[in-house]
Amino acid sequence: MYYYIIDLGNKQIAKMKEKIEMMMASFGISGDFGKISPLSSAYDLAKRAISQNYSTIVAIGDNEIINQVAQALANSEAAMGIVPINAEETICDLIGTNGIKQALEILRTRKIQTIDLGKVTESKYFLTRAIIKNNKPISTVLDFGRFKIGGDFQEIIISNGTKTNKSFRDGLFEIKIDKERQSKSFWNFFKKPTFSSSVFYQESVKIETEKPSELKIGKETVAKTPTEITLLPFALKLIVTRIQPQTKNS
């Protein structure tokens, strides 16, 4: 039984709802809709759907909605589906498409893969990334267990799968640390590349900062430093394409 979580407050999605419902009917995957409202977040709706024993809970929308549904479904028996609308490339690559029709076709064929999730607190998980952004570089220590790194950092991105590291099943985070936030301005294109960025692949990290910094998943602040982020291996059942993604060399 399918349960679709949709944000009809988003005009683009609201316009498409009827068309999406028709496609669902034609694929034989019709189900119930949960509509996001100020009183019911995507997370609340997904939790409710789990308690009502829906076997498949589908997030229709962007990263924010997808991450909230993933949070609710961590370590649950229900499978998660994604119909990406304005979602980032990493998520589209993960399920195997960025198209609505193709995403519904993937739901119909129902190949389930268990993937890793990031965990910040007992109830805060993330599918894609958690971020610390400071206004200016501040003194920070990241403890990876066998080694620690220290320095003045402005931005720390803890990713569970990125454009280069596409694996959500490798038991590792990509942790990217920047002394200064990278701006994508036109003039920066001509600047000499700097070597101030650091990248580590680890399964957990403790972060301490000189002053408390906010750790965000999407727009939501989920913790303040000092904090620990760990990886929950194979914590989410996700419906993905049956077609093997082509590698660059193939």
Binding site: F144, R146, F147, K148, I149, G150, G151, D152, T164, N165, L172, E174, I177, D178, K179, T194, F195, S196, S197, S198, V199, F200, Y201
Partner: protein, 140 residues
């Protein structure tokens, strides 16, 4: 020639400039060091020590390329290259060694297929009977 890590998409670890690492940094993939490491660095792939980088501790990898400074013993299972700005204060064990003019190497080197004689976690090496260079060597 040891390859340039910036052109790969693998899970390469990068230590940025102005970053201090303390402890044992080990990965199965490549490591690029541009900052300062106090402790052991080991990789099953390639380690590149950047121009402004300093490592104070043993370095162990298949291939090692040194543009910066290493104060510690080095075991490069396949090959080691030192470019003109490279400085090594410690012993080197490798099969293939390339040192450019201008590099500084103060220590002993053991080359060939022999079993490891350099203890990477000791600053002083025990007496060996293998092919050894002079104890102190400076190429400028």
């Amino acid at each position: 020639m040891i390859r340039d890590l910036s052109k790969t998409n693998e899970k390469d670890t990068v230590v940025g400039e102005n970053v201090i690492v303390t402890g044992k940094l080990h990965t199965s993939s490549n490591i690029q060091i541009n900052g300062h490491v106090k402790g052991e660095v080991s990789s099953e792939g390639t380690i590149i020590v950047g121009k402004n980088a300093t490592i104070e501790g043993p370095v162990i990898a298949a291939d090692i390329l040194i543009h910066g400074t290493v104060k510690g013993n080095i075991v490069a299972k396949s090959g080691l290259e030192m470019t003109s700005g490279g400085k090594v204060f410690g012993d080197i064990e490798t099969k293939s060694l390339s040192i450019q003019s201008g590099a500084i190497f103060i220590g002993k080197s053991i080359m060939g297929e022999e079993k490891s004689k350099i203890s990477p976690d000791k600053s002083k090496q025990e007496k060996t009977t293998g092919k050894e260079n002079q104890p102190e060597m400076e190429i400028e």
